[in-house]
């Protein structure tokens, strides 16, 4: 591999309006893979 690889979701912005308990894991997965998550 030559060029450094990008995180898959780098450049994506997620607005997180998820309900306590059930929702935040979804946006955490996206953030863990490079997305910018705004709660």
């Amino acid at each position: 591999m030559t060029a450094p690889l990008k995180a898959p979701f780098e450049g994506l912005r997620v607005a997180d309006f998820a309900w306590v308990g059930v929702g935040p894991t979804v946006s955490k997965y996206l953030a863990d893979n490079g997305a910018e998550v705004v709660r």
Partner: protein, 426 residues
Amino acid sequence: MTPQPQGSPSPHPTGPLAPYRLLDLADEKGQLCARLLGELGADVIKVEPPGEGDPTRQNGPFFKGEQGPNTSLYWWAMNAGKRSVTCQLRLQPGRELLHRLVATADIVVETNPPGSAAGKGLDYATLSAVNPAIILVSITNWGQAGPFAAWESADIVASAMGGHMHLNGEPERGPVRTTAPQAFTQVNVQAAVGALIALYARGVNGGVGQHVDASMQEAMTNAMDNSQQMWDILRINNAGPGVRRNAMGKPGPRYLFETSDGWVALLQLGGLAGVGANATIDWLAEHGDAGDLVSSEWRERLTSLTPLGEAIGYVEERLAAFCRKWKKEDLVAAAQARGLGWAPVFGPREIVESKQLAARDYWVRVQHDDIGQSFIYPGAPWKLSRTPWKQRGRAPACGEHTAEVYGDLLGMDAAEVRRLKAKMVI
């Protein structure tokens, strides 16, 4: 109910994964992952050893109790909608044939113990040399390395070492395993997510594939809520509280009660603990079951969440006596009408007969043309509004699509297929 798909597998051109092909070389640790991706449109090809086929074809129970290569209910459930080819990976020509398939594929799912995939030509170094764009999903008990990587694995092993057994069960009787194999289920969903992320990453990184290393232990550990944090930060070692809520590592208020015909689950003593206590007390009082709880002292004590200590027994007995007088369905309907989050505990029969699932058109009836009957299958885990999920039909017979796949994908003629069959390569 969703109409029966015709043929096996039925096409799914509107699926988001319709452009992609997946080779499924997984045992019971990884067959669900491939099925889920197939239901999103991928062309899933199960690769089985010639002759007896995949060992999970022998997983009971069997249709009509008759054991055979095409009667395992497990096989039906996990391999529905896939194609099947035979390929003997113990033979060099078989491994070469597999690599020709890999050159046409996007994703490979395998479940060999760490270090042993190379012997079957299934390790990432080999596959990525054949096809740099390939995404290899490896599902194992502990991942590809580490001090336990060589231990014997099973669902029960990952459930025990992933923390879930300890979080279930009862203080008096010890840990309990969830009967349905949740370690397999959890890791398969996580592996499917990993495959989708890798597929997306391939698109933004110039077509380079990668190795997705999915661990059953880690999948289970990811599903422990905040139990690890409670140990790390608070030094509280959570354990199974049985019929009670877990309250900071100790058994809290009871949440399971028996009715005249089954169990109900009631959060926080059916609302008797916390701000909503008065509503439940009033309801019990209407039926003459509230006892002393109608007093202002008890109301204050329950609504303020003051620890109940020994008195919890009195509160639970009021609720238990109340619940025993009702039928499960009536009790829960009345509770929900009062804004209380009570639920019937459903068994498999009630799941199949659920009005909610019927109203959502959840079940899919699948025709088994080989035996002339149809059966219901679980429906969409996600309802996508534009690129829908789709059940693709029954599970394949061993090698059902061998000639079709090798002909269409590799340009192999009938004579070559016969020659490879004679040599036990396929």
